[in-house]
């Protein structure tokens, strides 16, 4: 799996480098929307890696390597976790900088929204990757847009609702539930992807 991660990182080095530089700049701009954007974009990087693979017809090469289906599929999931973790770290640093430079207090709900965004991004990845393995990146991207738009609507409605009751919200419980749902979704997604991958 490490070999595949090296391949993906090297293939996307140029793009990833620019993204992370931009992410650092955006993180220091202290805007909640930009924070979310960084995380959601990071979660879409495995799809870009898959697009590169498709373009090079890498799948033909991959099936000759001593790798299990789980390792091949797992490398894309792992890439998503790594990029989301790095983007989270950048966003937290940005928050910390805001707290120190502008004396903006780090409030619980700010941290909460960042982590929830990461959970949503990983949940979208969990829905998205099996689709990509099944129908390919081009068609999968269209479905992804649909999923993201629907999810955004749902989140906005939910968020408005949450803000009304924010005082009564039990943050640790909601976070634990979100993390749990994301984990379950990812486990299920991984199993489905294994079945979808190259079912010729």
């Amino acid at each position: 799996m490490k070999g595949l991660l090296i391949k993906d990182i090297c293939s996307m080095m140029k793009q990833t480098k620019y993204f992370f530089v931009l992410a650092v700049v955006m993180a220091f701009m202290q805007n909640d929307f930009l924070f979310s954007y960084i995380i959601v974009y990071a979660a879409s990087l495995p799809i870009t890696a898959l697009a590169y693979d498709e373009r090079a017809k890498w799948g033909r090469m991959e099936e000759t390597l001593p790798l299990t289906r789980a390792q091949i599929i797992g490398s894309k999931y792992m890439m998503g976790y790594i990029t989301v973790a790095v983007s989270l770290a950048i966003v937290f640093c940005g928050r910390l900088y805001g707290a120190m430079a502008y004396a903006r207090p780090i409030r619980m709900e700010n941290m909460f929204s960042i982590v929830i965004t990461a959970c949503i991004a990983l949940a979208v990845q969990a829905v998205n990757l099996p689709l990509m393995f099944w129908i390919g990146v081009e068609r999968g991207r269209l479905l992804l847009i649909l999923i993201i738009v629907s999810a955004a609507f749902a989140i906005v409605s939910l968020w408005e609702d949450l803000e009304i009751h924010q005082a009564s919200l039990h943050f640790p419980l909601v976070l634990a539930a979100a993390a749990g749902i994301t984990a379950v979704l990812n486990i299920l997604s991984f199993q489905i992807s294994k079945r979808m991958y190259h079912c010729e």
Partner: protein, 282 residues
């Protein structure tokens, strides 16, 4: 032991069927898989590696069923060169080496570097800047750098100039100097296969027409030029296929069934292939 064994393997697609293919490659030998474009050579190779699932039949590689969980370990011992080198175009030979180092347990970086030197491949240059010959050489360097016992080569020499082809065939020949090293090479360039193969398997329209020792094929078959007038003198049993020309008739014959009075010429793999294909079409 056989390095490769396929028994009654069938794979159907809506527009193509590879049907009932049985062949074996004894350990230490080179098997040339020949056939026209679209005959099923690449499908057979993908089936061997379990890249696609067979509908029926059995496949054993280096003594292991290719559907077993342990087959992934067997792949460590197989060096593969496909018709194209499907690496992402921004990678360089250096990054391919790094990647393979973390993919094959038995990867030998120094062997890989030696091959890069031998093939004059820069480890910094991006893959998209490589010529076809360089791409194939990189694939061959990868295939030979993890101590394989079996090489599977799918059209590895097609599209290469004769000098590069000769150099590459020499490497494959060197590889089989070790007793337990075997090679399956698919190609439609019959001259390459004639040069290095011990066995020849001929696929035509998804069916295996023969899988025989090359020397036996050469001994068994011959070409006889005859006129319509003297055709009746040739024993019918000896005639495998015929090709009508303007001035003469060419026959693919079984040498053993003809007396020495007939002037039988040597039949090359390509001749045998063409005659058999024509016969099939008739």
């Amino acid at each position: 032991m056989n390095a490769i064994e396929m028994k009654h393997v069938t794979k159907s697609y809506p527009a193509f069927t590879l049907s009932d293919v049985s062949l074996s490659l004894p350990s230490g030998c080179i098997l040339g898989l020949v056939g026209e474009n679209g005959a099923g050579k690449s499908t057979a190779i993908r089936l061997l590696l379990n890249g696609i699932a067979r509908d029926s039949g059995e496949i054993t590689i280096l003594g292991r069923d290719n559907r077993s969980k342990e087959f992934v370990q067997t792949k460590e011992e197989i060096g593969i060169v496909l018709d194209e080198a499907y690496y992402p175009e921004v990678l360089s030979a250096g990054t391919v080496g790094k990647m393979m180092q973390h993919t094959y347990k038995s990867w030998q970086q120094d062997t890989f570097v030696k091959f890069l030197d031998r093939f004059s491949l820069s480890d910094k240059k991006q893959f998209k800047e490589y010529s076809r010959g360089m791409k194939m050489k990189l694939s061959i360097a990868v295939a030979l750098s993890h101590q394989p016992r079996l090489l599977i080569l799918d059209e590895a020499t097609s599209g290469l100039d004769p000098i590069v082809r000769d150099e590459i065939l020499e490497i494959f020949n060197d590889f089989t100097r070790q007793e337990d090293h075997s090679v399956l090479i698919s190609s439609h360039i019959t001259s390459d296969l004639e040069k290095i193969s011990d066995y020849i398997a001929f696929l035509h329209q998804g069916r295996l027409l023969f899988c025989e020792e090359k020397d036996r094929l050469m001994e068994e078959y011959g070409i006889l030029q005859t006129t319509v007038k003297s055709l009746s003198e040739v024993p019918p049993d000896a005639i495998i296929a015929r090709r009508e020309g303007k001035y003469a008739t060419e026959l693919l014959v079984k040498r053993a069934l003809l007396s020495e009075a007939f002037d039988v010429e040597r039949a090359g793999i390509e001749d045998i292939m063409l005659f058999l294909v024509k016969k099939e079409e008739v």
